[in-house]
């Protein structure tokens, strides 16, 4: 209990004093995760819609695989991205390893199946409702996808927020490809892991509270900005 109390005090102090390191780490966490969510959503939303409206031979297998990839182990993704970006790897020449960009790439790989899978489920239900109408209105495939994406935008926001939740709390992959380098690739989760390994539980718990607060703030801010959960809305 004492450690939790100390952690809360540390967290309060860090936040109230706008601790420079904390702000830097928090901003980097947000930059990496929000970038990864944005890129993953750009891939996952159309993919989810395409999967929902397409009929092809191995459709069930593809969807089952996509669902299974939601549980992709981050350390395995981290290892794969590490091997691809390391000096001897195929993309080593780009010099991305141990930069925030490598962390974003790893998170995009982790988040895309998660967001696509949730998006697919929402869009599939809407497609069942719209199917006859959109065919009857003689819409093209791309118009159907655009319509489904627009009309299920609130469900897609939930999918993106689920991706954000997973990304902001992710540590395994970004530790491997980012290296937890101070002032370069250190983010909230890797900082917590470091402080815990050093035995500085108070600071680790403090950072944990800040991380939870950050996650809540982003979620609430997005809900407020987009007007979800407002009375009389869809």
């Amino acid at each position: 209990m004492l450690e939790i109390w100390e952690g809360m005090k540390a967290a309060t102090w860090l936040v109230l004093t706008f601790d420079a390191d904390l702000v830097e780490i928090a901003m980097r966490s947000l930059f990496v995760t929000l970038s990864a969510v944005a890129i993953a959503a750009l891939i996952a939303f159309p993919l989810g819609a395409w999967l929902a409206i397409s009929r092809y031979r191995f459709r069930r297998l593809v969807i089952a695989t996509l669902n299974a990839l939601m549980g992709l182990p981050p350390v395995v993704v981290g290892l794969a991205v590490y091997l691809l970006l390391s000096r001897s790897g195929p993309f080593g020449v780009m010099g991305l390893l141990f930069t925030p960009w490598a962390m974003i790439i790893a998170q995009v790989i982790i988040l895309t199946p998660l967001i696509a899978s949730i998006a697919h489920q929402s869009i599939r239900d809407l497609w069942a409702e719209y199917h006859d109408l959109l065919i009857s209105l003689n819409t093209s495939r791309s118009q159907r996808i655009k319509t489904l994406l627009w009309d299920s935008r609130r469900a897609l926001l939930t999918a993106a927020l689920a991706g954000f939740g997973r990304g902001i709390g992710e540590v395994g992959a970004i530790m491997i490809v980012g290296g937890n380098i101070d002032h370069v690739t250190r983010v909230m989760t890797t900082a917590i892991a470091l402080e815990t390994s050093k035995g500085d539980f108070a600071l680790a718990i403090g950072l944990g509270f800040v991380l939870i607060g950050l996650s809540l703030t982003v979620n609430i801010a997005i809900h407020m900005l987009t007007g979800t959960e407002v009375r009389d809305r869809w």
């Binding site: 409702e129 719209y130 109408l133 065919i135 209105l137 003689n138 319509t147 009309d151």
Partner: protein, 236 residues
């Protein structure tokens, strides 16, 4: 403009899981007028409409339009028994068919507003379509089908579950559309409505067309036993 009519079905059938739902059907629909597809529940009226519209593919036989298929699909519309509303405003629902067919949004909304005023829905423009009453939704669905002035319009029991006032409004729109040259094929099992609207009648029973004749002939002198029983109100 190239006409998509006549529409021809040749030995067309629709089957699902080895069970034949419709056909074989041989039918030719020429331009002009209102054809009412009559028959009891489960007779195959909706399946016949869906087949002609292209929502169902024939399991065997052929469906032909007088124009290439892409043009034919762009010149027809369908109103479902339960109207499907897009998760948008009333205006957004009505302008959707126009904007998806390359009309600039401002022009599409201008046309839609004119339609909404005509329908008596002018005060509901920015309201969500899902909040409309059943009758208003069906009026909106019918307007959405008519706004591109299709040559061929299919209506699948559009007045089922509507009260008298809403039914009257829908029938008025159907008659106006028919008068302006839209060919209308409408399924119903409401005999009163069929008498009010029909120029000719297709009587469907057990997935087959039992009778095709002018409305007056059908109602005064039906040829088949099934049609006679149906008109008498017997359970068939």
């Amino acid at each position: 403009m190239v006409s998509i009519l006549p529409l021809t079905l040749s030995q067309a059938t629709v089957s699902r899981r080895e069970k034949r739902l419709l056909g074989p059907i041989d039918l030719t629909l020429e331009a002009g007028g209102i054809t009412i597809v009559l028959g009891p529940n489960g007779a195959g009226k909706s399946t016949l409409l869906r087949l002609m519209h292209g929502l169902e593919k024939p399991s065997s036989g052929k469906l032909r339009y007088a124009a290439p298929r892409a043009l034919a699909y762009s010149q027809q519309a369908f109103v479902f028994q339960t109207p499907v509303m897009l998760r948008r405003s009333v205006l957004g629902n009505l302008s959707y068919p126009l904007t998806t067919h390359k009309m600039p949004r401002a022009e599409a909304e201008k046309q839609s507003l004119t339609w909404l005023k005509r329908l008596g829905l002018g005060s509901h423009t920015s309201q969500r379509a899902s909040q409309l009453s059943g009758g208003e939704r069906q009026k909106l669905a019918l307007a959405r089908a008519l706004i591109r002035q299709p040559e061929l319009l299919f209506l699948d029991e559009p007045c089922a579950n509507l009260d008298g006032a809403a039914t009257r409004d829908i029938e008025r729109l159907i008659i106006e559309a028919g008068a302006s040259g839209t060919r209308i094929i409408m399924a119903t099992h409401d005999l009163g409505q069929a008498r009010r609207l029909a120029d000719d009648v297709l009587f469907v029973h057990h997935g087959l067309i039992h009778e095709q004749s002018e409305a007056a002939t059908f109602f005064d002198n039906p040829k088949t036993t099934e049609a006679r029983s149906f008109l008498k109100g017997d359970l068939i």
